[in-house]
């Protein structure tokens, strides 16, 4: 040491002790020897490191303000250029302040420490003052240790609990392992912690001898270890790494202690508890490393195949594990730093018991995480969320909190998908995790109905399943804990907005209303002039056999009808969709049987007008078309009758027949008109009115579809086309046959009439011609022929006509009677009214007493199952 230093040191000694005489020499000598013992090595350190230590120490002592002040002082100090060696001075302060603390606390224990000086072990004495017991221990047990000559390191010696006696009670190791940690007295690895400490200087670990020689003698093979190395091992175990003493037991999926290590039962139990943490950690970590789940499944091979939910679950777990690792790092740092802090400080040393305390919380967390990983195994996507969600009902609030945290993270992709789905209508689900599946093969017109379906297995369960018909699908359910309410609102809002948009779209751009109106006009025969004209010009065509029909002919006729009627003012788009369609032809069919109008619906409006709807429309058209045709036939009959009745004035013998035919025709006209009235005003108009009202208030496309379907159903039922009224419909068909028969009869009648009149005219003309020729007007044979012919007419042709008419009338009246009964017994109130109107003069009432009581409940019950026909 330099002279200057010596002088300084001397001055220091004299100043501090206040001694100036030769007694000072002793102290000076001591000081020099102390200083010379260790070359200064602090230069290696950075001043920041030392400053940090000081600050930490202040913080530990709860002197936050002082720490802050120290920081500002430090900043100022750094600016100063005077000091050459700031680190050194800081270290000096640090050491001194440590020492001074201990000094104050334990001034009484100076006497024993003198032994240390006598032994020449001057190191660390200052610190040990704070811990009388360990020091005593040390002094008793310590041999002239190999590491004795490291005086400059702050005393780290032993942690307080290191003096726990290491009992050789190895038999205690056979205690049953809880959960996973297994301690077995087996194996041969020999921990030599002296060489094994890789990081810290050897002097940190003072080996503890067996405390009682007696026990040590009993089991000599056993090895004692310091608590420090035990703790180090435990820390390794915390990270899922094998330690020197605590080994992985591959057989039992747990940890076991090296059998050669001497540990007390209590220590074993503590380690058992601690290694539990390690086991849980490795469980969670395994899960994370396998990319989230599906252990034992082939999918694990591909990390990304696990799906977004699992990936984010893993992410959440990793974050938790990071927190945990941070704690481990802190604990580790505490071992490293252990020496820097005097052992008396509350946070100073690390003992097994402290470890247990500190890992209590992380252990609970890890346990919760391990549960989650267990739950999330083999499931993915929404199902994964569901299975985690169940853990939210765990009774332990801590568990719940961590599950909530993890679940929120894991839900993020679902949430993102959901938001995207709700707001943009985009479905981005590469791993098929979302609870809505989309089928790209679905064609446009079935888009609304078939494109999206729900994967029920992926449907996350929630406090409330919110049902919402969304943009393009029908039902969805949602979930989520805190966001439940928010989400519900969001979905409601989005749903309303989207629905409004879709409605607007389909109403304005795709002109839903126009199409509905067109369907009503053309397929439901709303446009009278057009239908009438069409029927007239189609009449000659449709009377041909169905096989002789050509669609192009009919199409051109249709166009003619359009041009000739008010339909020409319809929008071209709608007219373009109107087309002729020939139904399936069966042998013997006439054109009437197979002809049908058609209305093409494709594109977005096909969503409302599905194929099923169109089928119903065609069915309705056919029924109405037939009704209409019957009306036309009847009016033809009436026209012919008008002509025939004129001729008949000369044939009084036919008067009865003619009258009968006219009566029958009138009855039929009445029935047809009533039927038409019923169809138009009581079925179509009412249903249409309701439909319009519903469409006005419709909130979404689904409402529109439902309203339209209801409308169709109603008119199908009203037109007696549904399954319930099948019998009535067949009955009606026989009525149509009767009308056809009547037409045939009428034709025959007029044919007969005209033939007879012609014959008579011819006879008269012949007489006249012969008279003019100067001949006799008639001869006997000719008169005879004429008389015979007339007789045959009155005796054969007329009665034949009469009987035909009677048969027709009789059949018709029977038909009407049973028809009325059927109507009366039908559930529909409107049909009852129809029945009343058809029999407005109560003619049939008188014929059948059953009709009198037809509206009573009693009658309904009695007539149930009985035949209506006589």
């Amino acid at each position: 040491m330099m002279d200057a230093s010596n002088t300084l040191l001397k001055r220091l000694c004299s100043h501090v002790t206040g001694i100036s005489d030769d007694r000072l020499a002793n102290h000076f000598h001591m000081a020099v020897s102390l200083l010379n013992e260790s070359p200064s090595n602090v230069m290696l350190k950075d001043h920041n490191v030392v400053a940090d230590r000081i600050k930490r120490r202040l913080v530990r002592e709860k002197r936050i303000d002082d720490a802050a002040r120290f920081s500002s002082l430090m900043n100022r100090l750094l600016k100063s250029a005077v000091l050459r060696n700031k680190t050194s001075i800081l270290t000096f302060f640090l050491s001194l302040s440590q020492d001074s603390c201990g000094h104050i606390k334990d001034q009484r224990i100076h006497a024993p420490e003198n032994f240390a000086y006598e032994n020449g072990l001057c190191n660390g004495h200052g610190n040990e003052e704070a811990f009388p017991l360990p020091k005593l221990h040390q002094h008793q047990d310590r041999k002239p240790a190999p590491e004795g000559s490291v005086p400059n390191t702050p005393p780290r010696s032993v942690t307080p609990s290191a003096r726990e006696p290491r009992s050789p009670n190895i038999s205690g190791s056979s205690r049953v392992s809880r959960l996973a940690a297994i301690y077995k007295a087996s194996g041969a690895a020999e921990p030599c912690q002296h060489e094994s400490q890789p990081v810290s200087p050897s002097n940190e670990h003072l080996p503890l001898r067996p405390t009682t020689p007696k026990k040590g003698a009993k089991k000599e093979a056993l090895i004692d270890i310091t608590e420090k190395s035990l703790i180090r091992d435990v820390l390794f175990i915390f990270q899922g790494i094998e330690g020197k003493i605590i080994k992985m037991d591959s057989n039992k999926d747990g940890y076991r202690l090296d059998p050669k290590v001497r540990l007390s039962t209590s220590q074993k139990e503590i380690i058992l508890k601690l290694s539990d943490v390690g086991w849980l950690y490795s469980q969670v970590k395994d899960f994370c490393e396998w990319g989230g789940s599906i252990a034992g499944n082939e999918r694990t091979a591909d990390r990304t195949a696990a799906g977004l939910v699992n990936q984010s679950l893993v992410l959440a777990l990793r974050e938790e594990l990071n927190d945990y690792c941070r704690l481990i790092a802190l604990l580790e740092a505490q071992i490293q730093d252990g020496g820097d802090t005097p052992l008396g400080e509350p946070s100073g040393g690390l003992t097994l018991r402290r470890l247990v305390m500190w890992t209590l919380e992380p252990r609970a967390q890890l346990r919760a995480l391990a549960f989650l990983t267990h739950a999330a195994r083999k499931v993915y996507g929404g199902a994964c969320v569901s299975s985690i969600y169940q853990h939210l009902r765990h009774g332990n609030p801590g568990h719940r909190a961590i599950v909530c945290k993890v679940l929120t993270r894991a839900c993020t992709p679902v949430y993102v998908m959901l938001t995207q789905w709700l707001l943009d209508g985009a479905l981005e689900d590469p791993h098929h995790e979302f609870f809505i599946a989309s089928d790209p093969t679905v064609a446009d017109d079935r888009l609304w109905h078939d494109k999206y379906s729900i994967r029920w297995s992926m449907l996350p369960t929630g406090r409330e399943a919110i049902k919402a018909a969304l943009q393009q699908t029908t039902v969805e359910s949602l979930f989520m804990q805190d966001e439940n309410c928010q989400l519900e609102n969001l979905i409601g809002l989005t749903f309303r907005e989207t629905s409004r948009h879709v409605l607007e779209e389909i109403m304005t751009r795709h002109k839903l209303m126009d199409h509905l109106r067109a369907l009503r006009r053309y397929l439901l025969l709303g446009q009278g002039d057009f239908i009438h004209y069409l029927m007239e010009i189609l009449n000659p065509e449709l009377d041909k056999p169905a096989t002789n029909l050509y669609p192009h002919n009919l199409s051109s006729l249709l166009e003619t009808a359009v041009v000739a009627s008010n339909a020409q003012y319809e929008e071209p788009d709608i007219l373009k969709r109107l087309d002729v369609r020939l139904l399936e032809i069966s042998p013997g069919d006439l054109g009437w049987d197979v002809f049908s109008l058609d209305y093409h619906v494709d594109g977005p409006i096909g969503t409302v007008f599905t194929a099923e709807c169109m089928r119903q429309y065609l069915m309705l058209f056919n029924a109405l078309w037939k009704d209409k045709r019957m009306e036309m036939i009847l009016s033809d009959i009436w026209k012919e009758q008008a002509a025939t009745s004129k001729l008949c004035r000369e044939l009084p013998e036919l008067g009865v027949v003619l009258h009968g035919v006219q009566l029958l025709t009138q009855e039929m006209v009445h029935l047809v008109h009533q039927m038409e009235y019923y169809m138009t005003f009581e079925v179509l108009e009412c249903a249409w009115h309701d439909l319009m009202n519903l469409l006005k208030t419709a909130q979404s496309l689904d409402d529109v579809i439902a309203a339209h379907n209801h409308f169709l159903k109603r008119i199908v039922a009203g037109a007696l086309l549904d399954a319930e009224s099948k019998e009535v419909r067949t009955h009606l068909r026989t009525f149509y046959n009767l009308i056809q028969n009547l037409r045939a009869l009428q034709e025959r009648l007029s044919h007969t009439v005209s033939a007879e009149i012609n014959a008579r005219k011819n006879a008269v003309l012949e007489i006249k011609a012969r008279t003019e020729a100067g001949d006799f007007g008639t001869s006997k044979e000719q008169q005879e022929i004429e008389r015979k012919r007339r007789k045959e007419f009155t005796s054969k042709v007329v009665p034949k006509l009469k009987s035909d008419l009677r048969i027709n009338t009789q059949t018709y009246q029977d038909m009407v009677q049973s028809f009325l009964l059927m109507l009366a017994q039908h559930d529909d109130q409107n049909l009852h009214l129809l029945s009343t109107r058809l029999d407005f003069n109560e003619y049939y009432h008188r014929r059948d007493h059953r009709l009198n009581q037809r509206l009573t409940y009693h009658h309904k019950r009695k007539s149930m199952g009985t035949s209506f026909c006589q």
Binding site: M1, M2, S5, L8, L9, R11, L12, C13, H15, V16, T17, G18, I19, R23, N26, H27, H29, M30, A31, L34, L35, S38, P39, S40, N41, V42, L58, R69, F70, L73, R76, L77, S80, A81, V82, L83, R84, N85, S88, I89, L90, T91, F92, F93, L94, S95, L96, S97, D99, S100, H103, H110, N114, Y117, E118, C122, G126, P151, N152, P154
Partner: protein, 78 residues
Amino acid sequence: MSTPDSSVVTAKETFQILMEMSKLLNTRLDETTLALCVRLCDNGANPESLAKVVNELMRVKNEMNVTNTTQGRGGTGT
């Protein structure tokens, strides 16, 4: 970095800073001792050992003050 003039001022300031630190850390050093120690440190003494020396000296002083009898033993011990 600084002119000689300012360095004198800085030296004073620095010393004040150090003094304050010393008080903060409860080292119980007076100004003279601190100045001596700082100079020793600057000369390259091992600070940790120096701390021990100072401690020891203080202890000796205490012993002398409190019990004059123990002072002798402590002295011989070192």
